[in-house]
Symmetry: C2
């Protein structure tokens, strides 16, 4: 993926988490994904598609971190474990972040539509992207822990 394609995802992640969950994020150094093991306990997956580009974005949260974030979003006490409400919230967060990135890409003249998010939970699972190029991992540090976003967006062949 082109390095300049990273910024819309970084900006949207910071913006959504700060606006919706009053959670400030520090961006850590991006790195290339090696292997396929996911970082977190709950992962949102969303597709991006147009006539000219295709891609997917995943965002993966450790339990402790997402329970805190959703608690702030809903202004409720944190749940004790990942339940349906948390999974739904991860779907919403995934949608909002990718929607924010889409809006910034649109200003750069790159237009695409979003698919419906899918959320995966489970320990030790592996998530593989069907991409010919290396996947870039963007780690974000919050007060409640670190989570990662993986983005994969490229012109169609």
């Amino acid at each position: 993926m082109k390095v300049e394609y990273l910024n819309p995802f970084i900006h949207a992640t910071r913006n959504v988490l700060e606006t919706m969950a009053r959670t400030k994020l520090t961006t850590q150094k991006p790195y290339l994904k090696e292997g396929a093991t996911t970082y977190g306990d709950v992962t949102g997956i969303i597709g991006m598609a147009s006539e000219v580009v295709e891609g997917s974005m995943t965002i993966s949260f450790p339990s402790a971190c997402i329970l805190q974030i959703v608690s702030r979003m809903l202004k409720e006490a944190p749940k004790s474990a990942i339940n349906h409400e948390i999974v739904d919230a991860v779907g919403e967060i995934t949608n909002m972040i990718c929607g924010g990135a889409k809006a910034e890409f649109s200003l750069l003249g790159l237009n695409f539509n979003l698919a419906t998010p899918t959320m995966v939970t489970g320990k030790g699972l592996e998530i593989h992207h069907h991409a010919s190029e290396p996947i870039i991992v963007l780690p974000f540090q919050a007060d409640c822990g670190t989570f990662v976003l993986e983005a994969n967006l490229a012109n169609k062949k």
Copy 2:
């Protein structure tokens, strides 16, 4: 999801598996998804998106079944376990089936683009669709076992 939206996915699945892997399929009775546990050991996930519709499709295979199918596709002896090659093949199969469905939907006047497939492996994981409507599960019976496709495609609100 509208019931008439099922057929393109059924046709494409039968067509791809029969053409690419000489595997005949019997369609079993569709049912509504309850809970979130996946059926299989390896699952392909792909997004569909346009200005008017959004959706996602998952296809989930038990190990024994996908090892046999990929062996037939590649005309090689079956692998003993799910490895990178099998996961890649599931990405290809996911792409081809959703591409076939897309072509049939296009003839019905419903156009969308495909996102990049994501593949998930792991035992006991749960896959949730971010959809307001119930998810329909389509089971397919092959000589090597049963696998399921879940589709979710709806007009944007």
